[in-house]
Assembly symmetry: C2
Homo-oligomer: 266 residues x 2
C-alpha cells in the first residue's frame, strides 16, 4: 500500500493529525531504560492516537551500531497500519542519493523520508522514483536560524517559496510533500496557498512553541487533511519518571483532541 | 591534534592534495569481497599517496547495520596520521544537530564532517563547537542540478556566495571549510577569491569530469595548499578485477602527480 493511502486510513482510524516524533534522548529518558524499550512503551501507549510516527535518525546514530539496532526494533514495534517517516534530511548527488534512498526505503523500510533540497533535482529524483513512498522536502523549517537562507529574496519571493514551486514541478507521481515549521504560521499559510493539495509535515508544536490552532487552520487542506503535525519532546518527556508512558498518552490525547477542535471535518 | 594541523602534516608527508573517497559500491567491486576488506586493500595501496580519506555514509547506510560495522572497520584501517572526513551532508535543528555532531565526531571519530547549510546557523553551531574538528558546508556542489537553488540570484549574487559569506562570518574558531565541486571551475575560482584562507573540499575530479589543472589553480590558496581534492570512483574502480588495489594505486599516483604539476610549491 502506498504512503498516501496508508496515511489517510490511519488519520481516519485514529481520528488524528498527530505524529509522534520518536527522538529518544538518554538525558531525558527515565534512568536505566533502553531506547528500544522506551520507544516500545511510547508506541504502545499512543498507537491508537496518532496518524504516523517519525523517528529522527540523529538520535539513533548518536549511539552508533547499538542505536541503529534500537531503530530497527522501534520500526518493528510500530503496528502495520501506521506509516513511519524516516526523518533523515539527507541530500547528496544522484549517484549517492540512490544509496540513501535504498538505505531508508529498502533497508530500514520507512514509508517516507525527509530530504534537504539544497542539491536540487538529481538529489531528490532517486527518492521520488519510489512511487509508493513519500518524499518530504525541507521548505521552511521550524528553527530560529531558518531565516539565514530560506528567507533570502529571489526575484521578489523568499527562497523557500522557490523550493515549494520546484516541489510542485517535481511531483509527477503525487508523492512529494513539504516540511514546514509550525513556528512560522504565516509562512505555513502561504505554502498551503501555493500547494493546496500537497501533504505537509509540520514539526514545531510543543517544546518549540508552535500554536495548535494556527497549525491546523493554516496547515490542513480544504478537507481538513494532508497535514501531519509532529510533536516529539512534549509527548516523549511529558514525565521523566516511571509513569512516562501514561503521561505520554495523556499528552498525545490532549494534543490530538485540541487539533481536532480546529479541524474541518475532524 | 586538530584537523588543520593533521591535514597540513599529511599533505607534506605524502606531498599530496589527493583525497580518496571511500564509497564502496557492491555493484562495482570485485565479486565476493567484503566492503571492509575492499576498503582496507584500497587504504593499504594508497595511504602514502593521499592527504585524506572521505567515506560517504550513504554507501554504508545502504547495507544497514552490517554496512555501519564496515564503516567502523574502515575508519580503524586508516593510519593515524591521515585525517578522515565523514561525508554525511547532515543538517537539522540545533537540538538534533548536537546528536549528529556527537555521532560523527565522538561515536565514529571523524576528523571532519560535511553539512548542508539550508537550516542556517543553529544547525551548524554544534559542529563548529568541536574546535579540533573541521566542518565543511556545502557551497556549490558538483552535480548538474546544483543550479536549481544554489545559482538563484539574491541581491545580485548567487545563493552559494551568500553561503560562503555566512561561512566566513561563522568561522570564529578557524574550523569552517566549504565544499565546492570541481566541475564548476569558475564558481570555484570565485569562492577561492571570496575566501582566500578557507579550506576547500573539492569533489568531482575523475568520473564526474572535473579538470585537474583548473581545480588546482583555482582551488588552492596562495601557498598552494588548503584544497582537498577528492576522487572516488576513478580510483576505487580503476579495475574491477582482482588487481583492483594495484590499479587504484596507479590511478592515485597519476592523479597526485598531475595535481602537483600545477601546484604552487608542490
Amino acid at each position: 500500500m502506498g504512503f498516501r493511502r496508508k496515511l489517510r486510513e490511519s488519520v481516519e482510524r485514529n481520528n488524528s493529525l498527530l505524529c509522534v516524533g520518536l527522538d529518544p534522548d538518554p538525558g531525558k529518558m527515565p534512568a536505566g531504560i533502553s531506547v528500544a524499550r522506551f520507544n516500545r512503551a511510547i508506541i504502545d501507549a499512543t498507537c491508537d492516537l496518532v496518524c504516523a510516527y517519525k523517528p529522527n535518525l540523529a538520535f539513533y546514530e548518536a549511539n552508533g551500531l547499538e542505536g541503529l539496532r534500537a531503530l530497527e526494533e522501534t520500526i518493528a514495534a510500530v503496528p502495520p497500519g501506521i506509516p513511519i517517516i524516516g526523518d533523515a534530511k539527507r541530500g547528496d548527488i544522484g549517484n549517492t542519493a540512490r544509496h540513501y534512498a535504498h538505505a531508508l526505503f529498502d533497508s530500514f523500510g520507512f514509508d517516507a523520508a525527509t530530504l534537504s533540497p539544497y542539491l536540487g533535482f538529481d538529489s531528490i529524483e532517486p527518492f521520488i522514483a519510489y512511487t509508493k513512498k513519500e518524499t518530504f522536502l525541507l521548505c521552511r523549517t521550524s528553527n530560529p536560524s531558518a531565516k539565514d537562507f530560506q528567507d533570502l529574496m529571489v526575484q521578489g519571493q523568499p527562497l523557500y517559496e522557490h523550493v515549494a514551486f520546484k516541489a510542485l514541478e517535481w511531483n509527477v507521481h503525487g508523492n512529494v510533500g513539504l516540511v514546514v515549521g509550525a513556528t512560522y504560521p504565516q509562512e505555513l499559510a502561504r505554502i498551503r496557498q501555493l500547494c493546496p493539495e500537497m501533504c505537509l509535515l509540520i514539526p514545531g508544536v510543543g517544546t518549540q512553541g508552535g500554536d495548535v490552532e494556527d497549525v491546523v487552520r493554516y496547515g490542513t487542506d480544504a478537507s481538513g487533511a494532508n497535514a501531519i503535525i509532529n510533536v516529539s519532546r512534549a509527548v516523549l518527556y511529558a514525565s521523566t519518571a516511571s509513569d512516562f508512558a501514561e503521561a505520554a498518552r495523556l499528552s498525545a490525547l490532549k494534543l490530538r483532541d485540541e487539533m481536532n477542535l480546529f479541524r474541518v471535518g475532524g
